[in-house]
Assembly symmetry: C2
Homo-oligomer: 306 residues x 2
C-alpha cells in the first residue's frame, strides 16, 4: 500500500493529506439547516450534514491531494449515524481515487487488535461471503500494548496490501509526559521507533514499509532524529497549521529522495473559510476556500522541503 | 459513577463484570443460521446474531453480575451494523439495570479525545436537542498521549457522572515491551499510575475516584504494588480465566475494605458452553452455561478475596 501512496504523492507532487475532521463548529450553518429541515433535530441530521460537508470538500480537493484522513472520533461522537457517515466518506474518497488514512488510533491485545484490523483494513466472512466493513487503506495504531497489539494489524496489512501508521511522538502539548520519558539511554518514543523499524521489516513494499509512524510537526528536532532512526518508515506528520507546525519545520521529516513524509492539515483546509485569509470565499464557498488553502499548503510544503 | 458501581457490586456481592466480546466463533451456530435465513449472508445478519446472543447472555446473568463490559472491537469488525449492535447491547444492559463498561480504549489529542468522550459518555447537541450517542457508564482510555488526551474524558465524567478506567498494565504477554521499561527509578506503568492518582483527584465520588485503572490479572505482583500506589482508584482486572489469571492471584488487587477491584471474564463466561466443564448445557443452552459459569466465578473470586 505504501508504494501506492507514494505513487499518488509523486503524481500530484503533493506530500500532503487533507484531514476530514468535521467538528460541528466547522460545518457551514446552511448545510446543517438543510439537513435538520429534512430529518429534524437528530443525530441523523448531523451525520447527513457531515457527509454533505465532506462531499463538497472531497470534490474540491481530490485532484490536488493524494489522500484524505478522516478522524473517526469526529464521526463517532454522533453515534451510529455518525459512524455511517464515516463509512460513506471512506467510500466517496475511494470513488474519487483518493488514498484513505483512517485516523482511528486503535490498539488492544491480540485477538481484539485482530478484530479492529479486520474491521478497518481487512475482510470478515459471514457464511460464505466476505465483506470489507470499513475499508480504509491505512489506519493509525496506538502502540501502548506492545507487539502483540500491533502484529495483528501487520498480518492484515500483508494479506490485503494495506498500511498502518504507529503513534511514536504525537503533536499535542502533553505528548512528552510519557513519550519523552527516558528509558536507559533513550526516550520512550525512541524505544517505540525502534519497534517500528522491527515491525516495518515484516511488511516492506518497495523502498518503504507499510508500517509507518506518526510524528508531530510541532516537534521538528525530534522529527530529524526519528527520520534517521526509521529510514524506511513513512512518517505521517500532524500538527501543521492550526497546531503551530510550519512548512519550514518540515524538511527534516523527509528523506534525501524527497519522500518519506506526508503532512496533514485538517482545520487549516476544511475550515479555511473561517480564516481571515480566505474569508472572501464566505461560508457558501467553504469548498473553494478549502481548495485554495490546499494549493497554498502544497506550495508551502514543497518549497520548504526542496 | 464509581459509587453506583460499588453499590451494585455490594448488592450482588459480586466484584465481577461479564465481558461481552462476541467473537464469531463463540456465537452458537443456530443463532447465525437464523439471522442469515432472515437477512441473507450480510453484515446485518452477523450483527443480528451478535445482538441475539448478547440478549440471551444478559437475560441469564443480569441478576448475578453488577456490570457488563462489551468490547467494541468485536462489534466494529462488522462495520456499521456491528456498531449498531453494540449500541443496542448497551441499551439492553441498561434496561436490565446493569452498569455498562465500554471497552473502547480510545485516546487522542485534546479536541479529538473530547469528541470520543462526548460520543461515549457525554451528550452532543444538534440544533436545540441533546443526545447521548453511545451512553456507556464507564469507558476504558489509552494514556499514551498524556494528560491532554485524558482530561477531556475527566471533564465529561464530572459533567455527566460517568467514569473511566485508564490502561496502566495490560494483561497481554507483550505488555511489558513498553509498560515495563524503567524510567529513572520506576517503570512506565508506575509513571502512568502516578498520573492516574493525579487525574483521580479531579473526579472523586465517595472514597473512590471516577478515574480507575486497568491492571491485568496475569501480573499479580504488579497488582499488589499498583493497588498500594493508587489506593483510591478502582482497578478493572482483565485476564481472569481464559488468559490464565486465577482467583488466588486476585487478593492483592483489592483493598482491605474488600473493595477496589472488579474482575472481568469474557470467554470463560460467554463461551462457557464450549468448555468441557459446561458442555452438558449444549449449544442451545449457552445462556444457562454462562449463568453457571458466572455463579462459579463469583464463588471463586469471593472465596479467594476473603
Amino acid at each position: 500500500m505504501i508504494s501506492k501512496l507514494i505513487s499518488e504523492i509523486k503524481k500530484k507532487n503533493a506530500p500532503i493529506v487533507v484531514g476530514l475532521d468535521p467538528q460541528m463548529s466547522f460545518i457551514p450553518s446552511f448545510l446543517l439547516k438543510k439537513s435538520i429541515s429534512e430529518r429534524g433535530e437528530s443525530l441523523e441530521a448531523a451525520a447527513d450534514a457531515i457527509y454533505e460537508y465532506n462531499k463538497g470538500l472531497i470534490d474540491a480537493i481530490y485532484d490536488l491531494a493524494p489522500a484524505v484522513k478522516p478522524q473517526i472520533a469526529m464521526y463517532e461522537q454522533f453515534g451510529v449515524p455518525g459512524v455511517e457517515a464515516y463509512k460513506k466518506t471512506v467510500d466517496l474518497a475511494h470513488e474519487k481515487g483518493l488514498v484513505v488514512i483512517g485516523d482511528i488510533k486503535r490498539g488492544d491485545i491480540g485477538s481484539t487488535s485482530e478484530a479492529y484490523a479486520i474491521g478497518h483494513i481487512g475482510e470478515i466472512t459471514v457464511g460464505t461471503r466476505s465483506f470489507a466493513p470499513f475499508n480504509e487503506d491505512i489506519v493509525t495504531v496506538n502502540p501502548y500494548l506492545g507487539s502483540d497489539g500491533v502484529k495483528p494489524f501487520i498480518d492484515v496489512c500483508n494479506k490485503y496490501d494495506k498500511g498502518i501508521f504507529v503513534l511514536v511522538k504525537t503533536s499535542n502539548p502533553s505528548s512528552g509526559e510519557f513519550q519523552d520519558q527516558t528509558i536507559g539511554d533513550k526516550t520512550l518514543y525512541e524505544t517505540v521507533a525502534e519497534k517500528v523499524v522491527e515491525w516495518g521489516g515484516m511488511s516492506m513494499d518497495g523502498n518503504y514499509s507499510n508500517v509507518g509512524a506518526v510524528v508531530g510537526a510541532t516537534y521538528p528536532e525530534m522529527g530529524i532524529m526519528l527520520r534517521k532512526l526509521m529510514p524506511k518508515a513513512y512518517i505521517l506528520v500532524p500538527g501543521y497549521g492550526a497546531q503551530g507546525g510550519k512548512g519550514s519545520d518540515l524538511k527534516g521529516f523527509f528523506n534525501e529522495d524527497g519522500l518519506g513524509a506526508i503532512v496533514n492539515s485538517s482545520r487549516g483546509i476544511i475550515a479555511a473559510y473561517k480564516n481571515e485569509k480566505y474569508a472572501s470565499f464566505g461560508e457558501e464557498g467553504y469548498a473553494e476556500a478549502a481548495r485554495q488553502a490546499t494549493v497554498d499548503m502544497i506550495k508551502d510544503i514543497t518549497e520548504s522541503v526542496q
